[in-house]
């Protein structure tokens, strides 16, 4: 469960401080699948970095499973990332020259978990890559690479999966496959936050949050949208 309270973020630029986030309040419940949308410069990447504990806010509180992570040290933050957060990046960010199994194992290595091989195999099978365990990233298609990345995000059973433009580098067929995979995982209980500017990606989500100039300007709960979608189809 994620709870943001009055999160702001300012960067020190040459021409003076620049505030990117102006007091974000937001709660993401377990089991939600949230799309964070907005034009470039709206602060969605910065917000993503906050949610992923890759960066700390200037002010405000960020409660992740009840822990205020803004008070943690760098070392503790790296542990939080390894144990509570699964990342999926637009450019996949797999370790080159390293096969799918080892890429998926990586978070377990840094968490000191044993019996990694079987867990990694299970995660890869779950994303439909049971036959590509020993392939290195250069031998995989874009969609397959993103599946490996999703398996890696899943493996620690994180509280939340954060996906930053996960389909930005994929063709439309792969996009559909990846979003269907996310939907399946969400149906199985995973909490997912996807940053995107694509409407068709956001369509898969149960909730949509719009950012503009560092503020939440609209927050569509699923039932509203479903009601509207139903009305349209009726």
């Amino acid at each position: 469960m994620i709870r943001l309270e009055g999160i702001t973020k300012s960067f020190q630029m040459a021409e003076g401080p620049m505030t990117v986030l102006h007091g974000i309040d937001m709660t993401v419940q377990a089991g939600e699948m949230v799309a964070i949308m907005g034009p470039s410069g709206s602060g969605k990447s910065t917000l993503m970095n906050m949610l992923g504990c890759l960066d700390v806010p200037s002010t405000g509180r960020y409660l992740l499973d009840g822990t205020d992570v803004t008070k943690l040290s760098k070392k503790q933050l790296s542990r939080v990332r390894g144990q509570k957060i699964g990342f999926v990046f637009q450019s996949f960010n797999l370790i080159p020259r390293t096969d799918a199994l080892r890429n998926v194992e990586l978070p377990l290595v840094y968490n000191g978990v044993r019996d990694r091989r079987s867990k990694a195999r299970a995660a890869l099978e779950r994303v439909g890559l049971g036959d590509r365990l020993r392939h290195v990233p250069s031998e995989l298609s874009g969609g397959q690479k993103q599946r490996v990345a999703i398996a890696r995000a899943l493996i620690n059973d994180p509280s939340i999966i954060l996906a930053d433009e996960p389909t930005g580098a994929l063709d439309s067929k792969s996009t559909v496959e990846i979003m269907e995979l996310f939907t399946e995982l969400n149906a199985a209980g995973c909490t997912i936050v996807i940053i995107t500017h694509e409407e068709e990606v956001a369509e898969y989500c149960t909730r949509r949050i719009w950012l503009r100039d560092g503020r939440v300007v609209r927050d569509d709960q699923a039932h509203d949208r479903w009601a509207r979608l139903n009305a349209v189809s009726a």
Partner: protein, 430 residues
């Protein structure tokens, strides 16, 4: 809550990651290693050859260099205390000096003057012939060793003959020829008259140069009682010849002897020294010291190549960190701590340096063993016969240790830089 974990839990896994990183860049790792391989091998090889050279030079120079002579002298300062003679007591004291291996006394019946010693000429005669200016020396069995003389016929006197003061004599070639004819064997067993005493000739020495060829050598007691008479106290010596334990210890031995002599003769002011300690070693030492300097200097130059190799490691590790900035960002995003990243890169550098060092050690030791075998089999001619490259642990340990240390330093800085990278910066890196 978040689980904490001990650093040891994941250390082995990080080592595996580091090794895999090296294996996936084989050419780069190999070339980086090459610099250290050459550096380590050069240091070990050149040290070994240098020590072999010093050894060969010492072997050649040793018999000449390791020779100390103690003679009495008059104090050069007018009005100083009277000089004391060199005695058996002095010899006994010098024998106990730690760096002294052998002390051989000589009694020549010489008189001591300010300009040095003047030997007393003795007339040697047989019933049919005479040799007027023989120089008689009473000594001990170590004489041949310290004087580096050899016999052409017969034997030298024994310890028993020495102790008993047996009336036996070893004569120089001039005397043997003058008294008994050109064949040295003809002299053996013959009777020799010196002043009024009779001696049996038991050996003839090889020619050693004019000054030594008119010598007659005999046990010290025989010389004192039979040729020179008891003299003052009967315990005086004309000269002591001393060998140090090794050429390298000559300087120390000279120091010890000087100290002992001053103590024996109760001299507090060196100006009043009534003895002189001379050694050829200090003259030869200049030469051997120069060789040793070269032998030490050459590995120092080779050490530069080790440093260059280290800079190679540093360079590659820095490139490697920049090259893999995104990878570092990804690892941090999935939970790697700064320490884990730093360990990974440090392990890579240390492994490269350690393996380079090991290969360098293996190559140089192999070459040294090969060279030793070749030199041993060739039999060796001239100078090569005593040249033997030295295989010792110290340069190997130092060269390998230095290469590891270089790996630690050259890997440590890039590793620290990698660890410090902010994950968002690293992920954004193109």
């Amino acid at each position: 809550m978040v689980r904490a974990l001990g650093p040891r839990v994941i250390f082995r896994d990080i080592l595996v990651i580091a090794l895999r990183g090296l294996r996936s860049h084989k050419l780069r790792s190999g070339l980086t290693m090459l610099g250290l391989v050459i550096g380590v091998a050069a240091v070990i090889l050149l040290t070994s050859l240098g020590q072999g050279l010093v050894g060969a030079v010492n072997t050649a120079v040793e018999p000449v260099a390791n020779s100390i002579t103690i003679v009495p002298k008059l104090s050069p300062i007018p009005g100083g205390p009277p000089s004391e003679a060199l005695t058996d007591d002095d010899m006994a004291a010098i024998t106990k000096a730690p760096n002294v291996a052998l002390v051989v006394p000589m009694v020549t019946g010489s008189t001591t003057g300010a300009a040095g010693q003047v030997s007393r000429a003795v007339t040697a005669s047989t019933p049919g012939a005479q040799f007027k200016s023989a120089s008689v020396t009473g000594t001990t069995t170590g004489y041949l060793a310290v004087q580096r003389k050899t016999l052409s016929a017969g034997t030298f006197f024994t310890d028993a003959q020495d102790k008993a003061g047996a009336k036996v004599a070893v004569v120089g070639p001039l005397i043997a020829q003058a008294l008994y004819g050109p064949d040295p064997h003809a002299a053996l067993g013959q009777t020799l008259r010196l002043n009024h005493a009779l001696f049996k000739v038991i050996g003839v020495m090889d020619s050693f140069g004019a000054a030594g060829d008119n010598a007659i050598i005999m046990p010290i007691k025989a010389a004192r009682s039979g040729v020179f008479g008891k003299g003052t106290g009967g315990n005086q010596l004309s000269q002591l010849s001393v060998k140090a334990n090794s050429t390298g210890e000559v300087k120390a031995a000279v120091g010890q002897i000087t100290g002992i002599m001053r103590q024996q003769h109760r001299i507090t002011n060196p100006n009043y020294d009534d003895f002189q300690v001379q050694d050829l070693g200090s003259r030869v030492g200049t030469f051997t010291g120069l060789i040793a300097l070269i032998a030490n200097f050459v590995p120092a130059i080779a050490a530069i190549s080790l440093v260059v190799g280290g800079i190679g490691v540093l360079n590659i590790m820095l490139v490697s960190v920049t090259d893999r900035t995104r990878e570092i960002g990804t690892r941090k995003a999935v939970g790697a701590s700064g320490m884990a990243i730093m360990t990974q890169f440090a392990m890579e550098a240390i492994t490269v340096a350690g393996m380079g060092g090991l290969i360098g050690v293996a190559i140089s030791v192999g070459l040294i063993v090969l060279a030793k075998a070749l030199l041993a089999n060739s039999g060796g001619v001239g100078f090569l016969s005593s040249f033997d490259p030295v295989l010792s642990l110290t340069p190997i340990a130092i060269a390998f240790g230095v290469s590891l240390a270089i790996g630690l330093v050259a890997g440590g800085y890039p590793a620290w830089r990698a660890a410090r990278l902010e994950p968002i910066e690293a992920l954004r890196f193109e």
